[in-house]
């Protein structure tokens, strides 16, 4: 046994050294990519890498327990191209595009289950150079044409139905606000950004079958600090950035179908087989997104390639009133099982988060797998069971994979996520109101700064002099405020603030507003429903849970645990608050006829006569003389005698 273990350790050592080498190189690539980052930019760089980490869960597999690879893993999550097969591919020049698919499943604290699909297409091409790209293989042509026609540098679009319940579910891998969100960085060669943006939204509206054409200047803003490019590139001039949300957008099947059509295998094979709308829309939360950005092709970053990342997050409600074990299976969730990977995919994997239960006491996963992987996800070290769909053995003898998990839920008590936020409208009546944004920092001893972005439609007229930021009962002065007042019917308010959140505190941002009276054609068909105000966006570098873990409950080598590791000490996080529904003063549209009649009557009868009475002077009229008298008078006049 000892000898066996020794040989394994040797093998391990070789693999580890190889890994360290690759990772170090890829890290260098990242650094060259985002070298010129400003302070805020830095924040964003971490987003990129961390989101990459969150999304990709680097495919480092060991045929051993994870404890032995801990040291390497800490660095291994830096860059997403660290999988060995990618490196192999980049050395082979022939196929310049690459497709990967994966599914992460996480049983949530509340007893619900979270499934996150990610599909990534990488293509080494340049849409911007003069020659037209006409041959498409894996990359969808519709999006390629959009990129080249509108000189898009980066495009992020998400459609979400529901609100992510941070207090019960923890943090999502990719946050998104309820409704539709679109943000685009244009190339600096674009001269008429607003015009291009308008066209782009209309085209995207067609592609995704969504009401994105309702994006116009009244709901578009140019955030100065909150949304930085996630791909490579050195332009951070926010004139080329446009950000818009449509909080009212309803997401349903008609948006899912065009989204699935962008996949190389469509919904015919691979993980996309599971995406059946009758199950996906029978859930607590549904979010689908498309992210396009330029990334480095290889570790030297000599050439760039375009990355199309399609993500779909869904949370299934598995509430059963009785206690005991919850059961979940692929078939139960999606009413399908998996039979094959997408033949075009270079990697196709399913990850199951088993962190909460390393000993296998609460979890039962079947079929069992011996592949384990570990990754830093949102500042926390997570462990995953991995199923590789490209291996035939995964499907077993029945030629179909139906994962099954049984676990105990600890329902009831809520989580205390390090950073979360909520927002509501205070006050009553239809004249004024107050928007309250609460930001919770639940870290026991560290304070951290957050960037708050608020975009409020013009019909809520913000009184910016009433803006207050308080934490722990004291005034908290934001170190950076960018405020752009609204113009009626032209553009919304934009408020960006950099606020320091003290440890273990609630920071409350309040601002009063007045509700505008709209013109009667400006009301929606259902004015009494209310008007939506989009979510505020909170971007922050949050101290990681691992760094917080000082009393090292986890068994780890002593040499790795003295100084808090810098990479782990904080991670980027974006939090969206709930949208607001605000009632504006609304006339009674059902009675225009009555109102017109009444007004006209009042004006015609009441006002007219009253005006007459007030302005005329009255005198008693002489009764008109009779005919004989008049004739007599004429005669008298001719005679020159005074009349009668």
């Amino acid at each position: 046994m000892a000898a066996h273990r020794c040989s394994l350790s040797a093998l391990l050592l070789i693999i580890c050294s190889l890994l360290v080498f690759i990772v170090a190189d890829s890290e260098k690539a990242t650094l060259t990519g985002d070298h010129h980052a400003t302070a805020v930019d830095n924040l964003q760089t971490v987003t990129e890498t961390e989101e990459g980490a969150a999304a990709e869960e680097p495919a480092v597999e060991e045929e051993r327990r994870w404890e032995e690879t801990v040291v390497e893993e800490a660095t291994a999550d830096k860059e997403d191209t660290s999988a060995p097969e990618t490196v192999v591919q980049s050395s082979v020049p022939q196929p310049k595009d690459d497709f990967q698919e994966e599914l992460v499943i996480r049983p949530l604290h509340s007893g619900d289950i979270y499934a996150s699909f990610q599909f990534r297409t990488l293509w080494e091409t340049d849409f911007m150079r003069g020659n037209k790209v006409s041959h498409y293989r894996l990359f969808p042509k519709s999006l390629g044409q959009v990129i080249s026609k509108f000189s898009v540098r980066e495009l992020h679009i998400s459609f979400t139905q529901g609100y992510w319940r941070t207090m019960q579910w923890g943090q999502p891998f990719l946050p998104s606000p309820p409704g539709a969100e679109l943000w685009v960085w244009f190339q600096d060669s674009v001269t008429d950004v607003d015009g291009t943006w308008k066209e782009l939204t209309n085209v995207l509206s067609g592609i995704f079958c969504a009401s994105l054409n309702f994006i116009d200047s009244t709901n578009t803003v140019q955030p100065s600090a909150s949304f930085k490019p996630l791909g490579i590139g050195n332009v951070t001039d926010h004139r080329f950035l446009r950000y818009a949300t449509l909080p009212r957008e309803i997401v349903c099947t008609e948006n899912l179908t065009p989204w699935k059509k962008l996949l190389p295998c469509g919904s015919k094979a691979g993980l996309a087989v599971l995406l059946k709308s009758e199950k996906l829309f029978h859930s607590s939360f549904h979010s689908q997104a498309v992210h396009i950005r330029p990334v480095c092709q290889d570790w030297q970053c000599k050439t760039t390639s375009w990355e199309l990342r399609q993500t779909l997050n869904v949370v299934f409600d598995l509430h059963t009133p009785g206690q005991g074990k919850l059961e979940w299976s692929l078939f139960k969730m999606f009413s399908r099982t998996l039979t094959e990977a997408c033949p075009l995919a270079s990697s196709s994997k399913i990850y199951i988060d088993i962190t909460d239960d390393p000993q296998g006491e609460q979890f039962e996963v079947s079929p069992a797998t011996h592949l384990l992987s570990q990754a830093m996800v949102l500042g926390d070290r997570r462990t995953f069971s991995v199923y590789d769909l490209t291996q035939q053995i995964t499907f077993g003898t029945v030629r179909s994979l139906n994962l099954l998990i049984r676990w105990k839920s600890s329902e009831g008590d809520m989580l205390r996520p390090l950073l979360h936020a909520e927002r509501y409208v205070a006050g009553y009546g239809l004249q004024t109101g107050e928007i309250h944004t609460l930001m919770y920092n639940n870290h026991p001893y560290r304070s951290f700064p957050v960037l708050l972005l608020d975009s409020v439609p013009w019909y809520l007229r913000l009184y910016i002099h009433t803006l207050t930021v308080t934490s722990k009962g004291k005034d908290n002065k934001p170190s950076y405020i960018h405020y752009q007042p609204s113009k009626d019917r032209v553009r919304p308010h934009l408020l960006e603030m950099l606020v320091q959140l003290p440890p273990n505190s609630v920071t409350e941002v309040t601002v009063q507003f007045e509700r505008a009276l709209l013109k009667w054609t400006e009301y929606t068909p259902d004015p009494n429903h209310g008007f939506y105000v989009g979510s505020s966006v909170i971007s922050s570098l949050v101290p990681s849970i691992v760094a917080m873990d000082t009393n090292s409950t986890r068994e780890q080598p002593l040499f790795s645990s003295f100084f808090p590791c810098k990479e782990e000490s904080s991670y980027f996080m974006r939090v969206y608050t709930e949208p607001l529904l605000v009632n504006l003063p609304t006339p009674d549209f059902s009675m225009p006829y009555n109102v017109i009649c009444l007004t006209c009557t009042v004006v015609a009868v009441g006002y007219g006569s009253l005006y007459n009475l007030l302005t005329r002077s009255f005198q008693i009229e002489e009764p008109s003389p009779g005919l004989a008298k008049r004739i007599a008078n004429i005669i008298r006049k001719m005679r020159g005698v005074p009349p009668l």
Binding site: S283, N528, H529
Partner: protein
Amino acid sequence: MGLLSDPNRRRALISLLTRLNAPICVVCYMAGVAWFMGLAFEPFTLRTYMSENAMGSTMVEERFPAGERALGTGREFSAHKKKAGGMPVDWLVKTMQSRGLEVFTQRFSRRLPFPDEDKERYMVKGTNVYGILRAPRAPRTEALVLSAPCSPGDDNNQAVGVLLGLAQYFRNQVFWAKDIIFLVNEHDLIGMQAWLEGYHHTNTTGMDWSPLQGRGGSIQAALSLELSSDVVTSLDLVLEGLNGQLPNLDLANLFYAFCQKIGVLCTTQGKLQRNDWDSVSGYSHAVQTMMLMVMKQASGRPWGDHGLFLRYHIEAATIKGINSFRQYKTDATTIGRLLEGMYRKLNNLLERLHQSYFFYLMPSLSHFVSIGYYMPAFGLLALILLLRALDLWIQLATPPTFNLNPPPSQMSSPGVLSVLTPLVISHLTGVALYTLPIHFQEIAVEHFPVSETEAVVLTAIAVYTAGLALPHNTHRGLFVPPFNGWKVLKLVAVLYLAVLLGCTALINFSLGFILALTLVPVAAFVTPDVPKALSAFIMVILSPACTLLFSVFLFQELQEMPVSFLDGWMLYLSVISQGILDHALYGSLVYPLVALLVYPCWLLFWNILFWK
């Protein structure tokens, strides 16, 4: 209007109005009262109908099965309530959590301005517990509220049981589009006030509460459930809210429609509706129901926990289970099904309830009188004031000859002064009536053998009575009042009263109408020339305080619980203290309205009577 531009005809019209002023006024008064009584006559009223399409055409199924289990939960709640000696917070939190809700608590405390002897409370401390059922794929923008009070003693345990049972059942349904908030509030209205203020982050009454942690967006509708027995014979719908506000009529229609569908006896004001409208007893039954509604609305107090929602433009009603000695019984499952149906329909709402009426009176649950029908009754009464004002104006303008260009300048300067003094003094009396009772309670308690509450009420009555003695002596000695000085004062007072009552009736018809009913005759016929003793007696009888006293007796009579004079008097005192408390705790406007405006206005007429 051509009539007015012609001086001859105008003169004729004016002389007609002046000559026949008194008879016209009497006719108007009779007509106003008759109109009002006619409102309860069924052929003159409209049948209720559902205006909101989102709730009308879509039928829903009610399948709530677990009435017995809900009652069991209610018994468990009652046991824990007894053990905890109040709100069993921990148990409720645990129970709601096990039903899959997000649970939050809110602590609040309030010191009443003086002890409330009816409910035996002074320092109030409590906790509200609420659980939010999050709707799947909804972005937390809209919510519905179902609340049940945690009352002292054995009351309302079943309501909490049904609430928890519904929470459990609702959690397993998939069709919710709005978050549903299940609220158990302690200390009835005070807890509800704390919760609503916390939810909307306002503070209108100076209460201490801890901020809320979880919210569900803008609340669209709310129901409050009161249920104290395992089976009920009928369900009673309570609509009257703070300051006489009413929820949208569609909420009442919804309740009525489901009672009809499920076959539950439903009442409003505790009165079943009857079909024999053409018989005398049928008509008097409808009058009773409507009068009860008028009395309740005029009181301006919330008649159930729902009453405070209305301030926030949230449509709300209270459903009370009534268990009387009838044969026909309804069990908890049926009540659960009824509520389920109502919530499913409210869940279907696309817009806030706005289609139907906000101003109405209900002679029965299936019939209503809209604002367009009942306003003429008040208009006829207000017309008397305008006619009197016209008469006075003409008398003032044309003592010697007919002259169109109004007021002769020589009488204006002393006239203004002679009007101003009584105006100011009577309003100062009003301010004293408003402020003294609460501020002087300590002094009163020190010097007299009374409790704080009695001190407040008795001080109020004392100030009120003292006001009668004060103003009519004040103008004496200041200057020589001009001839006809009282006419100027009466003109001002009559117009003042007309505006005051008009505004009141627009906001709270019942209050405006009841005040008009008693004040208008006083205003119309009081002059210094009438026999003093008799007129003084009549005026005191028709003063606001006596109106309140009569209202108390009438209300008891209408509820078929007549009281002896002594009990009535005690009730009257407690009503005054409740009115003052309602103002301090929930911001009810009736007490300040009466003290600061109506009573001074009445004092002006009192002043005219004793004009020298």
